[in-house]
Symmetry: C2
Subunit: 159 residues, 2 copies
């Protein structure tokens, strides 16, 4: 069973004008173009404020998929951790998972905020976010909090 | 691009003694057996209290993958909604996504609480849950709140 191959087809793809690091900007909006024949599968989705977008990191090479450990954000001052312990895109199955805010639905197009995926990224699934997905006080490692603090400090010192 | 095939191999599988509806019991513990050669990818994961488990609903048929709309929980008194607007397992790409509590790591085995997957389910990816995954007040439809209220009432009337 463990050696079986699992085959999927994209249900849509991402459309964005963001380039490079711009995709990490959580205030950015982008679109998900769902395959027209699947538009009916979006029925009622507008009643949710937030969604999970599951996408395929199609630019990750076969070699990168063999990576077992990385330094978070490639920073050698942070501990070397397993790829399952960090949200790196170097993973055996390079699946992306992001919580986005749903802004608008028009036919087979979703407009969302906060999707950190490049233009043309294949989308594998879309799921509604609900209160069961909230963990009140998740425990995270020291390196995670350190990165977060740095980000906040940078924000404060920006003009 | 939209017609490309995406191929994955499981990174592990679920081991549980829960049968049928027992897997929905959020207090149940189960194990994730990661492929032994990927054990290093778990390094440092124990510093997170919660994880996302992304798994493959391998018992969903090709026909079920064509479903566009369902009644939540199969209940005809609830509105017919698109499969992307509900966490049904009948989806074009039958991917499961669950937030679990990480209880213990032993070599290539994770013991977790709250994984609603059957014994033998292939696991596609494991990701740490962090505070960015928290949505403070997600908006959900009326049918979702109705199901939740019924569940709570049932709990209160059980001996």
């Amino acid at each position: 069973m463990i050696s079986q191959l699992i085959v999927m087809k994209p249900v849509g793809y991402v459309r964005t004008q963001a380039l490079g690091d711009e995709v990490k900007d959580r205030n950015r909006t982008s679109e998900i173009i769902v395959q027209p024949e699947m538009a009916a599968a979006l029925n009622g989705i507008c009643e949710f404020s937030h969604l999970y977008v599951i996408f395929w990191l199609h630019e990750i090479s076969e070699e990168e998929r063999l990576t077992k450990k990385v330094h978070p954000r490639g920073r050698s001052d942070l501990p070397l951790v397993g790829v399952f312990a960090v949200r790196t895109n170097q993973r055996p199955n390079p699946i992306g998972l992001t919580v986005v805010e749903l802004l608008k639905v028009e036919g087979n197009v979703l407009m969302v905020r906060g999707l950190d995926a490049f233009d043309g990224t294949p989308v594998l699934d879309i799921k509604p976010y609900d209160p069961w997905d909230i963990v009140k006080e998740p425990k995270v490692p020291h390196w995670w909090r350190k990165l977060e603090e740095e980000k906040n400090q940078k924000k404060q010192t920006e003009p």
